[in-house]
């Protein structure tokens, strides 16, 4: 376990370092652009430097390595720096504002698609060539192959543009007052509907197919024949013998998906201008807001690594055949 944690910390450190240098070494550093702009406008080099340094909280002429050290120092204090795009805003506050929207929309989509996929997949796995299997398997196969920016674009066009049933962008209407009130919550759900469905529809296919094959393979195992030979009732067989086993592999996937959720979806959130982490990342990238990019990459990395750890730990807890030593 300790070794596992050490590896996780090392991974995070490597990602942080890699992103830092990669972004600095890319052409088009915005602080330098700003600096040269000020020079052109007639500022003295000193004044321009001071202004830029103060604005971005950096020291653009100090060696890269020193910048890196001071960045790490800030990180250690939980300071992700100041946004380049919004010079008076900390990255942390940008992330804090975007995070709830992503967690809400992607989390909802994940939950809904997993529940439906698992239910339908179980039915299809039990009744091969039954109604559910015949109808849903081709649909799910197609859906699982579609990227969510495609469903997003189609839904945007059909439901927001042509039919105009649902809003095209934003997380809630302009007129409503954020808070715990019905108009706001209603507006939130109406705005989240299309992004959520765009994710959910594509993810459903995966959950369904996975659960169907997991159910079918569990049903084919000897212990199911054993259970039936003892005269167990079909509900006992389904809920106590088949499902605990068929759900096991999906549980890991679910925990991992929670980790990947923090990346939001750059495509879907951008299509719907939905102000989550993915949208923020898109903006940061197109504006070379590298402090925000660094912050986002850090969060995504940590989330993925933590969810990996959590998935392994959960597996040890859930599957008695796996002992701690096997995994950690």
């Amino acid at each position: 376990m300790v070794r596992r944690l050490g590896t996780a910390v090392l991974m995070i450190f490597l990602v942080v370092t890699f992103t830092f240098f990669l972004l600095r070494l890319m052409p088009g550093n915005p602080t330098l652009i700003e600096y040269h702009l000020l020079l052109k406008q007639g500022d003295s080099p000193q004044a321009a430097l001071q202004y830029v340094n103060a604005l971005y909280g950096v020291n653009i002429h100090s060696p890269l390595f020193l910048q890196y050290l001071s960045y790490l120092g800030d990180l250690a204090h939980g300071n992700l720096g100041t946004s380049v795009l919004y010079p008076n805003t900390t990255v942390l506050s940008l992330v804090a504002a975007a995070l709830p929207w992503t967690v809400f929309s992607v989390g909802l989509a994940l939950t809904v698609s997993a529940i439906f996929g698992i239910l339908m997949g179980t039915v299809a796995g039990f009744k091969r060539n039954g109604l559910v299997d015949t109808l849903l398997t081709p649909v799910a196969t197609v859906l699982s192959g579609i990227p969510n920016y495609l469903t997003g674009t189609v839904f945007l066009f059909v439901f927001a543009v042509v039919l105009a049933w649902l809003p095209q962008s934003g997380a809630y209407g302009v007129g409503v007052r954020p808070g715990f009130n019905v108009p706001f919550l209603g507006s939130v759900f109406v705005h989240a509907a299309l992004p959520v469905v765009s994710y959910a529809v594509t993810q459903f296919g995966g959950w369904y197919l996975l659960m169907k094959s997991s159910t079918a393979s569990t049903l084919g195992q000897e212990f199911i024949v054993g259970a039936r030979s003892r005269g167990l009732t079909s509900s006992q067989v389904i809920y106590r013998y088949v499902m605990p086993n068929s759900l096991l592999p999906l549980f890991t996937n679910f925990v991992l998906a929670i980790g990947f959720m923090f990346g939001g979806s750059v495509f879907v959130e951008s299509i719907f201008s939905y102000p989550g982490l993915g949208y923020l990342l898109n903006q940061a990238v197109s504006n070379r807001d590298y402090s925000t990019m660094e912050g986002l990459f850090l969060i995504i990395t940590v989330a993925v690594i933590v969810s990996n750890l959590a998935a392994d730990l959960a597996y040890i807890k859930l599957d008695p055949r796996i002992s701690g030593e096997d995994v950690l």
């Binding site: 195992q221 000897e222 212990f223 024949v225 054993g226 259970a227 039936r228 030979s229 003892r230 005269g231 167990l232 009732t233 006992q236 106590r240 013998y241 605990p244 086993n245 096991l248 859930l318 599957d319 008695p320 055949r321």
Partner: protein
């Protein structure tokens, strides 16, 4: 070996525990139709141990599955009846009724059954499930399980708390047998219960069966491809070949004076470690392809005593001595003289 129960060897006397008549089972696919059991008739006596012997592929497991009415698809019974006392024909009772009989009146231990338990559920819970399914008190069930596990030389406290993977193959098999006896079944089918085990565990299981027979009133169907295993334990032996019973009779008699050439071959194939090295030979050839129609005696192509008539005439089981039947033209002719 001590036998406590009176044994009847005449298949015809009195009501059997189980009466199989004219049973045929086929595996039907789009392209083929395999008759795995063909017009099989067999009576299991109360409290007897019937050994069913034959090479693999002869339909022994399918016979067992038929009695449980758990033939794996695409197999299904196409003719016959399996009468089980007051319960009637097992092939035609409603599924819910059949399911109540499973594990309660008829229990089965599966071939190579190393994983008949839910891997993520403790044995104790799986014991409780059986009692719950059959509408019995779970607490009393655990008591009963403790007794049975003790009888199988296992530590009940430990076993009930264990997950299946925490036990060895031999232990699991003993637990499986204890589980099968939970509700005092009238019939226990054991499909090659020892074939996946090492020699020591095999011996332990056989010893356990001897003890079970002394303590419980249960008819045993013991399926094996190893003649040596049943010859010393079973009361009667049924020899199966290509979906038929080709010889049936008292174990000692079959062993001493086998009448069917296939039975003779099986007995000769028993490796004799102790006595002088006899003529040990496995039989040449293989059982016939059951998806093709068989004309004449199915054993004819491999039979060392084959005659012309064997290739065109299909012999039926004939009584050649009291309680001893064989399906062989030669045996029948010898009897007629």
């Amino acid at each position: 070996m001590a036998r406590q129960h009176p044994i009847t060897t005449e298949a015809s006397s009195g009501a059997g525990a189980l009466e199989i008549t004219g049973l045929s089972v086929e595996y039907v696919t789009k392209r083929s139709r395999t008759r795995v059991i063909d017009n099989l008739t067999l009576t299991l006596q109360p409290d007897e141990m019937l050994g069913v012997v034959g090479e693999s592929g002869c339909g022994k497991s399918t016979l067992a599955y038929s009695i449980m009415r758990m033939i794996p698809p695409p197999g299904r019974p196409v003719a016959g009846a399996i009468r089980f006392g007051r319960h009637g024909d097992l092939l035609s009772v409603p599924e819910l009724y059949m399911n109540r009989l499973r594990g309660d009146r008829i229990a089965m231990i599966f071939q190579g059954a190393q994983s008949v338990f839910n891997p993520v559920r403790r044995i104790g819970r799986q014991v409780e499930d059986v009692f719950q399914a059959h509408g019995k008190d779970r607490r009393k069930g655990l008591e009963r399980a403790r007794e049975l596990l003790k009888a199988t030389q296992l530590d009940p406290g430990r076993v009930l708390k264990s997950y299946p993977h925490e036990m060895s193959g031999g232990m699991r098999q003993r637990v499986a047998i204890a589980m099968a006896l939970l509700l005092d079944p009238e019939i226990l089918i054991l499909d090659e219960p020892t074939s996946a085990l090492d020699v020591v565990s095999q011996a332990a299981i056989l010893e356990l069966l001897v003890e079970i027979r002394q303590r419980f009133h249960v008819s045993l169907i013991f399926i094996t491809h190893d003649f040596a295993v049943v010859s010393s334990h079973a009361d009667r032996i049924a020899v199966m070949y290509a979906g038929h019973i080709v010889e049936i009779g008292r174990a000692d008699e079959i062993f001493r004076v086998p009448r069917h050439p296939y039975t003779k071959g099986l007995i000769q194939a028993i490796p004799n470690i102790r006595g002088p090295l006899r003529d040990i030979r496995a039989m040449d050839g293989e059982p016939p392809d059951l998806s093709k129609e068989i004309v004449g005696c199915p054993f004819a192509p491999r039979c060392p005593e084959v005659m012309d008539a064997c290739r065109s005439y299909k012999p039926e089981l004939l009584t050649i001595a009291p309680g001893h039947e064989a399906a062989c033209i030669r045996a029948a002719m010898a009897e007629a003289q």
